[in-house]
Amino acid sequence: MDIIKEIYDAVMEGKVEDAASRVQQALNSKAEVNDILNKGLIAAMDVVGEKFGEGELFIPQVLWSANAMKAGLALLKPHFSSTDRTEKGTVVIGTAKGDIHDIGKNLVAIMLEGSGYKVADLGVEVPPERFIEKALEVKADIIAMSALLTTTMPSMGEVVSLLKAKKLPFKVIVGGAPVDQAFCQEIGADAYGMDAADGLRKIKGLLGR
C-alpha cells in the first residue's frame, strides 16, 4: 500500500504508534515532506473533523486521531526549513476569568494541535489582560475563550473591548455551554464555536487555512 495512504489510515484510526512509524518510514524512503503532511496527516484529520461534526465519530476517537497526527507532525517538523510554515496558525486559548472548568477547553486545545495549529494554553481563570499579553508574545492569530457559566461570560467581552481599545488585530472566538451566537455578536467577537468541531471549523474559516 502507498505509504501516504498508510499514514492517512493510521490517523483516521487514531493509531499513534502506527502513524509515527509510517511517517518515519515515509521519511526514510524520501517521500515528499509536503505530501506526508498534506495528503497524509492533514487530509485524514480534516475527514476526522468532518465525521465528528456529522456525528459519525465521537470525542474519544477524535482525540486518538489528534494524538496520532501530533506524533507524525513531531517527526516531520525537523524536515521543514525555518521559513516553512508547518503550523496553520497560532491560537491562544484559556478559560474566562473566574471560571475553573477546563475539560472542554482542553479538548479544543488538543483538537487544534491535532489539526496542525500551534496552541498556547493559558489554563483556567485567565484575566483579560493575560490573553492579550500572551497573544502579543506568541504573535497569535486567534484568541479562543471558554466559559461554563453565565457569571464568567462577561470577562470575554472585556477581552474584545481591550483588543479594540488597543487596536490589536487578533481574531476572537468564544465557546462554552452558556455562550451562543447572540452573545458572540453582543460582545463583538469574531466567531462562536458551538462545540469543539464547530470551533475548529470556525477557526479554519477565520484564518482561511
Binding site: 473566574g98 453565565t150 455551554a177 451562543d180
Partner: protein, 197 residues
C-alpha cells in the same frame, strides 16, 4: 453509597448508541475500574430554620434545606494527570464517568432530603442549584455558610465555584407557596437540566 457507573450509561453519555470498536470498549472498562478507586463521596444536608435573610427560592417554604455533595479531589487530579500524560481520551472518558457518578451522588442527596421531609409530612418538593436562573451564584456562599460545620471538603473560589470541581450544591423547599422566586425558562441548561421538578 452506590455510585456505580455502568458501561452502557458511560458509552451513551460519550455519544455511542451502538457498541463501539473493541479498543474503545476496553478503555471504557479500564476507566470504570479506575473510577472506583478515585471516588471518595461525601454528602450532607441541613434543615434551615431561619425565616430572615433567606435566598428568594426558600422564601415562604415550610421546610427548607441546603445540601451539598462531592466526589473528592482524587478523581479530578487523576484526570489532570492523564491529560498531562497525553492520554486525553482516557482523561475525557474518566471525567465523563465522574460526571455520571456526581449526578448519582446528587440524586442520593436529594433522596435523603426527601425522606427527611416525608417523615415530617411533606412529599413534594423542589430543588434548585445556584447558577440556575433566579438563584444567583453568590447563593453558594449562603449555602456553604450553613454547611460550614460539616466536613465536606468543598471550598469556594472567589467566583463562588466549588473545589473539587466534581461537587454540587442545592437548595430544597417543601410546602408553602412559591411566588415567582425563579423561572427555569430561559436558563441555558433548560433542555438538559436534571434538576427540574
Amino acid at each position: 453509597m452506590n455510585l456505580q457507573v455502568s458501561r452502557e450509561d458511560l458509552l451513551k453519555q460519550l455519544g455511542y448508541k451502538e457498541p463501539p470498536q473493541p479498543r474503545l470498549q476496553d478503555m471504557v472498562f479500564e476507566m470504570l475500574g479506575l473510577l472506583d478507586g478515585l471516588v471518595e463521596p461525601r454528602l450532607a444536608f441541613k434543615g434551615i430554620q431561619d425565616e430572615k435573610d433567606l435566598p428568594p427560592f426558600l422564601t415562604g417554604a415550610v421546610l427548607k434545606y441546603a445540601g451539598a455533595a462531592t466526589l473528592g479531589p482524587k478523581l479530578e487530579n487523576r484526570v489532570k494527570d492523564l491529560f498531562d500524560e497525553g492520554k486525553a481520551a482516557e482523561a475525557y472518558i474518566l471525567d465523563t464517568a465522574g460526571s455520571i457518578a456526581m449526578t448519582k451522588a446528587g440524586d442520593i442527596l436529594w433522596d435523603d432530603i426527601r425522606q427527611d421531609a416525608e417523615a415530617k409530612g411533606f412529599k413534594k418538593g423542589l430543588r434548585r442549584t445556584p447558577g440556575c436562573r433566579g438563584i444567583d451564584l453568590e447563593t453558594q456562599q449562603w449555602i456553604f455558610g450553613k454547611l460550614a460545620d460539616l466536613d465536606l471538603g468543598i471550598k469556594l473560589t472567589t467566583s463562588y465555584m466549588m473545589f473539587p470541581r466534581k461537587s454540587l450544591s442545592f437548595l430544597a423547599r417543601f410546602g408553602g407557596r412559591l411566588k415567582g422566586a425563579f423561572s427555569c425558562k430561559g436558563c441555558p441548561q433548560y433542555t438538559d437540566c436534571t434538576l427540574r421538578g
